[in-house]
Symmetry: C2
Subunit: 322 residues, 2 copies
């Protein structure tokens, strides 16, 4: 898939890297090294891209503030990933060892807190609304993680509960990235800010659905993660929920999902069973529909290459294979 | 010792409790329960007391903002304690089981992040200077923890390195508590804000020195912690640094401090040896001198019961036995 959505903001995304690099200069060499370790193994930088594209789409001109806020959100996102890996005992992140595996658990907790604080430092002097958006999203991540834990190995979880979990865990921060960008450009047009936010919120839900699909049909080469992790941990995901509904393979998938002693072999078996159902296809359809239904929300925005790129980015998210 | 410093602000401190109680109302019952667990086993609330006393000492009248900011700082402080206990494998906190021992490690990491975010939410709409003070202090805690780890079981650490570690780890947040209070009352008099901040910074150093002394001479009944923990973990503290200088007992204390396999019996032996030296007395003297030398910084403040209480609180901190 050609990914052109970032072309029109490539210099801004470079500046995001520079800002993150700059603020993680710590007095302590190892703390800096750990921040670099996390940031250098970098992801798609989807959140800052959404902030900047939203900013320009809403008529912003000088992206300096949007770049700072985008960098702040990316730092906060990476801070939560550090803690998530500890939490989920995830050993690999984007094809490299998780931070706590490379360094230590204790140091990684502190490094995560530190990156969290650096993110807040970057937005410290921003408008109160921006600070509010970000802290709301940050606390929603906490409740999302907890709801997820509550439904671990629990077949009572259905699609509504799942959508609720991923809203807090993932979609709120992506919504926040968009609202910050829109607000910086058009704080006098709150309806626009809300529309762009809602567009990104649904895109964020699509993002997590695809992420969860990749755990059951993804290739390790692409995702840098061993597939089957989620089911092994009893983490409720939409493909599993759909597969459990299947009259043929459902009962066995359910068994593995509920079993706290499930082995890697069980997980591999469950994944092979899920692959026989239409669960993944239904999920990808749902992700696509979420994004397509959200596109009209952006109608009031004037036509621009940034608006086109924002939509393209959302479609990329719903169809990505890594 | 009579502790009267909180009498003149007792209703404000109750309001701090109410604010913290209020903001930790989460959608997720267990997340709320965990926050309550941490907050109900409450400490001395020294940080909010310093914020409120600084606020009134500098001429503030309506303490609402100071109460919110004090509650925010206390939430952030408690968030770091949750993570510190995981980090240090501390099993007991204020006489009760550490959160991660009562719940799980993963949940406790998230609960800490959540309380951190709630703290920032409370200050979200405060003046940019307040946000700046708090994020600076929060990131200093990260670097302080790292410097401490760097000097673990390392006899190269002397008094200057130790003072540097405790500045980041403890004194900066206490300084921040005071500066926020002073700023809310007298943002047009930055010299006053800085003086009150410096007073609290030195008080914060004294606080940590006494804390470290209590680890070697404290009684478990008072502190709720088993003494000797620090030396067992190879954590550099001032009483240990002083004791290692002692020609008689120094070499053995050093041995235990450096030994990653030191047992509880070794730690108990080291503590008994430290007790034979003047290390604890020297530390307590230093704490007292830090506070007394800082008192004149408050001279420009008009006489008031709040100013008296602020000084009394600092003296209490330097002489407390728990």
């Amino acid at each position: 898939m050609v990914q052109a959505w970032h072309e029109c903001i490539s210099s801004e995304l470079e500046r995001v890297e520079a800002v993150m690099n700059d603020v993680t200069r710590s007095d302590n060499p190892q703390l800096r090294e750990m921040c670099q370790y996390v940031l250098s193994n970098h992801g798609k930088r989807i959140r800052p891209a959404i902030t900047i594209l939203s900013y320009y789409s809403c008529g912003g001109r000088d992206a300096k503030r949007a770049i700072d806020v985008g960098a702040a959100i990316e730092l906060i996102h990476n801070a939560t990933l550090i803690h998530d890996d500890i939490n989920d005992q995830g050993e690999v992140r984007r094809g490299a060892k998780a931070l706590y595996k490379e360094y230590s658990l204790g140091k990684s907790i502190v490094a995560g807190d530190y990156m969290f604080a650096l993110g807040f430092r970057l937005i410290g002097s921003a408008a109160p609304a921006i600070v509010d958006y970000i802290v709301e999203a940050a606390s929603a991540m906490g409740t999302g993680e907890f709801s997820q834990k509550r439904y671990e190995r629990n077949v009572a979880v259905g699609e509504p509960q799942y959508m609720n979990i991923i809203s807090g865990k993932t979609a709120r921060l992506i919504e926040c990235a968009a609202k910050c960008g829109a607000y910086l450009a058009a704080s006098d047009e709150m309806e626009i800010v809300d529309r762009v936010g809602e567009f990104a919120f649904r895109t964020g839900q699509a993002f997590q659905i695809v992420d969860d699909v990749l755990d059951v049909i993804g290739y390790e080469d692409n995702t840098g993660k061993k597939p089957g992790n989620d089911i092994l941990e009893g983490k409720p995901t939409l493909p599993t929920i759909y597969a459990i509904e299947d009259p043929q393979v459902g009962p066995r998938v359910r068994e593995v999902f509920e079993d706290p002693h499930a082995t890697s072999a069980d997980a591999a078996e469950a994944i092979a069973l899920i692959a026989k159902t239409d669960a993944a296809a239904r999920c990808l359809d749902k992700a696509k529909v979420l994004v397509e239904d959200a596109v009209p929300l952006l109608e009031p925005l004037p036509a621009s290459e940034y608006k086109d790129s924002l939509i393209e980015l959302a479609r990329f998210i719903a169809a990505r294979d890594r």
